[in-house]
């Protein structure tokens, strides 16, 4: 990257508009883009809260508005980043595609039902607008290095395990409260199976979703997905045991008062095993570390200088400049379907166990 910019380069920067300017925009995307000022320029910030939109826009010297149409009509917005609450994602992705933008970055999950996902797929195919879903681990250089190390593991892995331990974070509380009204001053009533099912849904769509696209690399098919265990971990978290495509998948998360985060994905087959250790969310600098072991010998890759949040934006720049392929919309839909099938299976499992 050139240390200084000439004016013709500045004008060639890609204009970014944000739909939703909450914590994810402020704490994740703006810091990432501040490291990529040679590639991007934030031109427009929209939020339904006018004060938030104006305050965030003023920090990056961008226009602000409270209307999606106004942002989509702004010719200086070439890429739309969707960082509103889940339930608005699908409609906003579709509107951004129809507005003929160069690319859409949508925070995970990009839809909350199979119908929405199918609609997105058809609009994306029709308009040809590339969509990137903000599953940052998939863009982490540590993960990308793992792909180069892992040899035949995607075909041979029989056991995949993702374990997340995170310090308390208001964001995770929101995952739990998004789907159920949290009683004032306490945690949900886990004696109610409906509450358990809703918490597990929040866990899959809010947290596990980060890694499900990665897990799916080792799971050839999931039409036969079975939920063998689905339980909450108090005060907030989950443990799932799944079977799909001949693989066993264990997902666990515990959000507690510890100071020590741990976010690890492991895939194991008869002759080799991969372990990828990710940084906690909201951390900007530094990537995951990948360790691949076969025959008692371990190869280690990383940490690299940036992580998946920045990786997403670098990928988008590559897509807009035509140097990188856009993710295949069908694969994104399959990733989402994997999450939704897990949610449905967990719900059925919990409600069945309750009778």
């Amino acid at each position: 990257m050139p240390p200084t910019k000439r004016s013709d380069e500045i004008s060639s920067r890609i204009g970014v508009g944000f739909l939703g300017a909450g914590p994810v925009t402020q704490a994740i995307h703006l810091p990432s883009l501040s490291r990529l000022t040679d590639l991007f320029e934030v031109t427009h910030v929209m939020d339904v809260d006018a004060d938030v939109a104006a305050a965030v826009a003023s920090r990056v010297d961008a226009a602000s508005s409270t209307s999606m149409d106004q942002l989509l009509g702004d010719p200086r917005v070439e890429v739309v980043a969707i960082c509103s609450p889940h339930k608005f994602h699908a409609a906003q992705v579709i509107a951004a595609c129809r507005a003929g933008k160069k690319a859409v970055l949508c925070e995970k999950p990009f839809a909350v039902s199979a119908e929405e996902a199918a609609e997105i797929a058809s609009v994306s195919a029709e308009t040809g607008v590339p969509i990137v879903v903000g599953a940052m681990h998939a863009f982490d250089p540590g993960w990308l290095a793992a792909e180069k190390l892992w040899e035949t593991l995607p075909e041979t892995a029989h056991t995949i395990r993702v374990s997340v331990v995170l310090p308390p974070n208001a964001r995770f509380e929101d995952f739990a409260t998004e789907v159920i009204a949290r009683p004032a001053g306490g945690w949900p009533d886990y004696s109610d199976p409906e509450v358990i099912a809703a918490t597990l849904e929040g866990g899959v769509l809010g947290l596990a979703i980060h890694d499900l696209p990665l897990v799916r690399r080792f799971v050839p098919t999931f039409d036969d997905l079975q939920v063998l265990r689905a339980e909450v971990v108090r005060p907030w978290g989950y443990v799932f045991l799944l079977r799909a495509g001949g693989r066993t998948i264990e997902l666990s998360a515990s959000v507690n008062a510890t100071w020590k985060p741990d976010w690890t994905l492991e895939a194991t087959g008869p002759d080799s095993t991969l372990r990828v250790t990710f940084t906690p969310s909201y951390v900007q600098a530094g990537s995951a570390v990948a360790e691949f072991t076969a025959g008692g010998l371990t190869k280690v890759a990383g940490p690299f200088d940036h992580n998946g949040y920045e990786g997403e934006w670098r990928r988008i720049a590559g897509i807009v400049h035509g140097t990188e392929e856009a993710p295949e919309a069908g694969a994104l839909i399959e990733d989402l379907r994997f999450a939704l099938v897990t949610v449905d299976g967990a719900r059925a499992h919990v409600l069945e166990a309750a009778v």
Binding site: T159, L228, R229, T248, N256
Partner: protein
Amino acid sequence: MSTLTKHYTVDTHSVPGLSETVASLPLSLAPAGQEPAQLAAIAGTPGWLERTREALDGGALAAVVSSPSAADGILSLPTDFAQRAIVEWSFASNPGLQTAAEATSSLRETAVFADIELRVPTETNFDDVLLDVLIAAGRVFGSMSPVRSLHRDKAGWHLASWLRGQASDVPVSFSIIATDAAPATLRLRLLTQDGGLSASVPSPATAEPAEVRITGPDGERLLPTLWETSRRVSWRRAVAVAAGEAVSDDLSELDGAISLAPKGMG
């Protein structure tokens, strides 16, 4: 050992690799000649309970049973015999695991999740290693509800339980995973509301210490552990039992683990 000259004889042929351990404890142990061994080494294959009874009946001062399979009637062994039977587990007998067990008693009350994972070479019979996992889990996690088998095939075995005596359910997850990627290891975690304990126990072929860490609000501590194999520790315990300095409770612990295991194993 009360005196330096006193040593006990062992039939080093009854269990493979035993002569090494006997040689490494030269003041306590010696290979048995023609006379019956004073300390019996019993392989844990089916029939071990009868062989243990016979050895103790025949005058052995103590018996070390290595990795016993599930058996009925363990509690019918006379108390005097049971107190002189030591069980040697590949992982659960690791000295680091004992350290972990002592450290967790104060953590269990605030536990939120526990898991234990054993990685073994492919072709391992999972029935032969489950009890080792259950004993290790019991020592560190404490009392658990009966263990349910969720899925088993040649690649692995996954089981589930809950910690007992907690105000709310604390899930426990067990996995046995078959892989030749690296030597066998056992890993476990007991997560609490504000930290927890983690242990990584190396293959029984090495004396490399287990790594046991406790995390709490003040930081993380690596607990002191010893360079000693689970086998050598077990034989030192046998010497103490033979000398009348200790009694063993291993068989009732084993019986408890067998009663927790899913029916039909073994």
